[in-house]
Amino acid sequence: MIQLLANWILSFDILSGMGNSVAWGLSLFIVAALIFAFVAVNAIVLVYIERKVSAFMQVRLGPMRVGKFGTLQTVADALKLLQKEDIIPRSADKVLFIIGPWVILVASVVTFAAIPFSDTWLAANMNIGLFYVVSISSIVVLGIVMAGWASNNKWSLYGAMRSAAQIISYEIPVGITLIAVVAVVGSLNLQTIIQEQAGTGNLFHWIPIPLPNWFIFHSPFLFIAAFVYLIGATAEINRTPFDIPESESELVAGFMTEFSGLRWALFFLSEYANATLVAFLVSIVFLGGWQSPFADYQGTQIGFSIITLVAIMWTLFVRAKTGRLSVYPLGLSLVITISAWLFPGFAIWMASPGIFWMLMKAGSIIFMLMWFRWTFPRLRVDQLMYVSWKVILPLSLINLMGVAIWMWLTGEIQF
């Protein structure tokens, strides 16, 4: 993308005077700014969505005052955070206290360089993209430990220590789970991983249900692996039920206790950046990235019709069981289906790959994360370790072996 941008800049007559390297540097800067802007806007939007989602799950309304339906609430909150007093405790380690949040933010922003938003929207097409993302994102723990230690607060220290233990423990199962996918593709390049998932095929290779060629439907092992990865990643980004580093009912706010104003906002920013990153990774690795789930426009129409049928049946089932009527999912799917049948252009657009599908998939994963967060209690430290070392890790190892055997059975690889 950077090279494309540089070429595009050089194609203008006025700008062609600048050398190739200058143009390249300029476009590098532009792309970096774009990614940062994406992360910032993304956080603001996600905070709003999270507040609304949590509110609806908790029979509330959420923000309603600033802007229509409270849409500008998070913008107002961000502005408020910017102008809040920046407090550095007297006995804090000033240097670490200042750079800690920035380390976290930088570590979570630079990972987006390797994320392909679509077939062309990609900052850096690395052949070790997956490895890069996984390794850079674990730098976050350094920043957390810095922040926790520098605060000179016992609660912060507890939070930082818990966080370090947690993130390092969950790196391993997450890494192994990703290796299972890498074993299928044979490449660490994220673009290649996505391109491998093009087209339609049978569910689990043999069951004759036509489904996209995504890796989640590749084999039962990768199906489990997707959830294993989701759980491990939830733990890595410190979200409920694994949010023990900042568990607000125990450690006040964990490593963020002493931070205020802009610095605190940076934590928030990186938290949502990390959540987005995880969602992107899940959709890239298991859900086909920017590939459309539908092969062609007829596929779109039929697919949506099936979804609507399922929605109708589900609604009737719920109505019969609890006597309550939930019209929103049904209405939404009906509207989309009808428009897919009425406007072939819409159906064709839905069937074509692009950034829309990437965002949709990532969005649903983020919704899952929110759903977890507003439903579950929080685990204890030792239970967290138990889940990591005794459940997730064996499961991911079994998955790795199972995928290898599966590929041998299906004839994808031969010995």
């Binding site: 908790q58 016992k154 507890y158 039920p241 568990s247 607000e248 009912s249 125990e250």
Partner: protein
């Protein structure tokens, strides 16, 4: 190799801490995450209730009793009113007794809803808390209908009630009860049966019956240890002997008898039993009766003293009142249940992790207002 030199760290939990249910301070001696000693420091909410009471006439004390246990103000008022009535040997109209029981039991449900919800909050589940408060608001609506206040009622007076209930109250209460069972099922679905919740609460902070009795733990926390003591049953006051209800005991369904999960679940079951009592009381409620007929013009209990105890949502609420025949008590001591219930925390919380101490504290269901009085 020399031994690694390690020290215990003293951790100040509170007075400003999200999970201490008020302004409680716990001095924790910790070794890593493990807590080796807990020293509760209380008194941050001390409002000298007993000193006030020595300077106020009997009927003026009633609003202050509600302010002690502000989550169960009706229960506090009920206990106080009954103590003074017993001293003065006042016979109450039937309707008053029934209405009092209805309100005390509604208050028990409301208080347990807070206990259940905040326990969920302590272990990290935020949503059940909101659901519980939604139902609590419905109960507070009923209270508001009857007394005009939502939290501190001053409704149960010595010798009667402040007013009769308005028309439509009984129907509205039935309505609430009909919807309530379904809601309890919902809590069980989202919280009680949740595996993470069970892991966090079961087997944590086991309180043996001996420890519970020796520390004076009462109420649901005692019954969770398997001790069948409910003052409504063992020493029936008011008209509790007319109702058919069970006393839920801790059975160790998910772990050991007397663990945090049992303390939680006993409260969930007690809500159902209270609903049962309210239903019976509403069925039997006499239509006629002046609720103010027995209120004495002058409240001057004869010279003497009394210790009267009643079952509040948190446990045994006792009033020790000494009268010298004047309209002001010489001494009024409130034996608040949470005061004794909190004192056990060092015994059952030692050796657990910080997260568990929070869970244990949440399962004891303390209200700092009545601990500090």
């Amino acid at each position: 190799m020399g031994r690694l030199h390690a020290e215990e760290m003293v951790l100040n939990m509170g007075p400003q801490h999200p999970s201490t249910h008020g302004v409680l301070r716990l001095k924790l001696r910790t070794d890593g995450e493990i807590v080796s000693h807990i020293e509760p420091v209380i008194g941050y909410l001390h409002r000298s209730f007993e000193k006030h009471a020595e300077n106020l006439e009997y009927q003026m004390i009633t609003p202050f009793t509600g302010r002690c246990d502000y989550l169960a103000a009706m229960g506090s008022e009920h206990g106080y009113a009954m103590a003074v009535e017993k001293m003065m040997a006042i016979e109450l109209p039937e309707r008053v007794e029934y209405l009092r029981v209805i309100f005390a039991e509604l208050q028990r449900i409301a208080s347990h809803l807070v206990a259940v919800g905040t326990f969920g909050l302590d272990v990290g589940a935020i949503t059940p808390f909101i659901y519980c408060f939604r139902e609590r608001e419905l109960i507070l609506d009923l209270f508001e209908m009857a007394s005009g206040a939502r939290l501190l009622y001053n409704y149960i007076w010595i010798g009667g009630l402040a007013h009769d209930v308005p028309p439509g109250f009984v129907e509205k209460t039935y309505e609430f009860l009909d919807a309530f069972d379904e809601r309890v099922a919902e809590y069980n679905q989202i919280l009680t049966g949740n595996k993470i919740f069970i892991e966090r609460a079961a087997d944590i902070g086991v309180m043996t019956p001996e420890v519970a009795i020796n520390y004076g733990v009462t109420g649901p926390s005692l019954r969770a240890s398997g001790v069948n003591i409910d003052i409504r049953r063992t020493e029936p006051y008011s008209i509790y002997d007319r109702f058919d209800f069970d006393v839920p005991l801790g059975q160790g369904l998910q772990g050991t008898i007397g663990d945090s999960w049992d303390r939680y679940y006993v409260r969930v079951l007690e809500m159902g039993e209270s609903a049962k009592i309210i239903r019976q009381a509403l069925d039997q409620l006499p239509v006629e009766g002046d609720v103010k007929s027995a209120i004495p013009r002058r409240i001057r209990p004869p010279k003497g003293e009394i210790y009267f105890r009643s079952e509040n949502p948190r446990g045994e609420l006792g009033y020790y009142i000494v009268s010298n025949g004047k309209n002001v008590p010489v001494r009024l001591k409130m034996r608040s249940p949470a005061f004794s219930n909190l004192s056990v925390i060092n015994e059952i919380g030692q050796g657990w992790m910080i997260s568990d101490v929070i869970a244990i504290l949440g399962s004891l269901d303390i209200v700092l207002g009545e601990i500090d009085r």
